[in-house]
Symmetry: C2
Amino acid sequence: MFVGKRPHGGGANLAQDEINALLVERARRGLTVVRLKGGDPFVFGRGAEECEALHAAGVPFRVVPGVTSAIAVPAAAGIPVTHRRLASAFAVVTGHECDGVSNLDWQSLARVPTLVVLMGLSALPEITARLLEHGADPDTPAAAIASGTLPDQRVVVATLATLAERVAEEGLEAPVTVVIGEVVQVRELLGAEPVGLTHPVQGLVSQP
Amino acid sequence: MFVGKRPHGGGANLAQDEINALLVERARRGLTVVRLKGGDPFVFGRGAEECEALHAAGVPFRVVPGVTSAIAVPAAAGIPVTHRRLASAFAVVTGHECDGVSNLDWQSLARVPTLVVLMGLSALPEITARLLEHGADPDTPAAAIASGTLPDQRVVVATLATLAERVAEEGLEAPVTVVIGEVVQVRELLGAEPVGLTHPVQGLVSQP
């Protein structure tokens, strides 16, 4: 039963509380329920809320951690989120939640060596503007990866100052993962095309 | 061939440049080489350096992203790194690298909703002191997880102000993953023992 978001536009088929209620209801019927998610259930996946609902209802459950797109999608584009010379910390945020962008502490995020923004397409102009306002270097390398790890993966490499404009020019479509930081340079060291819009890095990352 | 760190004490058997050279040398012999790592190769795994060495030597390679302990170990202790009500961003650092702790921007890290510190045991007193110096709330919930996901997993739950002392009292042994942030409270909502030293959350997270 599909309860998630449709690939192109349209919101969730079911609201989160409806999903929670459905999980409880099916489990109480005696069914074994698998709630399958893309990525990791505890990285902006609302998995914790589903666990809370199950626990409150007395339904036993297990959580299986996954490979998060926050790390795997940059990797598929030749970008490691950490690097001994370039980044000894990384942070992950989401650009998607309604009030998420405005509530985040951009002053702190502007100073983290690597910043990964999940679902970052629609809020990208606002995100890059806020980082620049808070003192991030406009020349910081930055990349936007659409359809990461898939055959139609597209990567735009630019700088923090130019990324939003370049992404709009290239017409990238959601889902887009954004990486901001010196680690974006590693693409070149790994033999990916150094700048501009590229196809997936052939042979660099195995397909799922 | 084991090239990594021994579980109890002792450094790497081989230095990183020796590992890089070994990968290249074996590949040039015509062998298909698998470099197997725990967690994700691009999260403090020095995977990017190995890829750079391979690319520089003209050796083709693939990278397979993994399940990072930065997310899976907190999950195994009942702690989601993000939560819609409690944390809309998380950051990951390592306490292990020689100069890592002193080079990090603790003022920024003190303001990220969830901070995960990998290999955080030996530097824990310094890390918590720096976060407190930079204005982090001493009552912030904090947890240290030893041997995460394994049968002998042990979890100490305390506050930012008391964690280092509690961990020392309980004699936790490396590897230890530290989580600092309001998300630590979710342990209780998920039915884990609310405070103090606990055994693994039975049934919460499947064993690998």
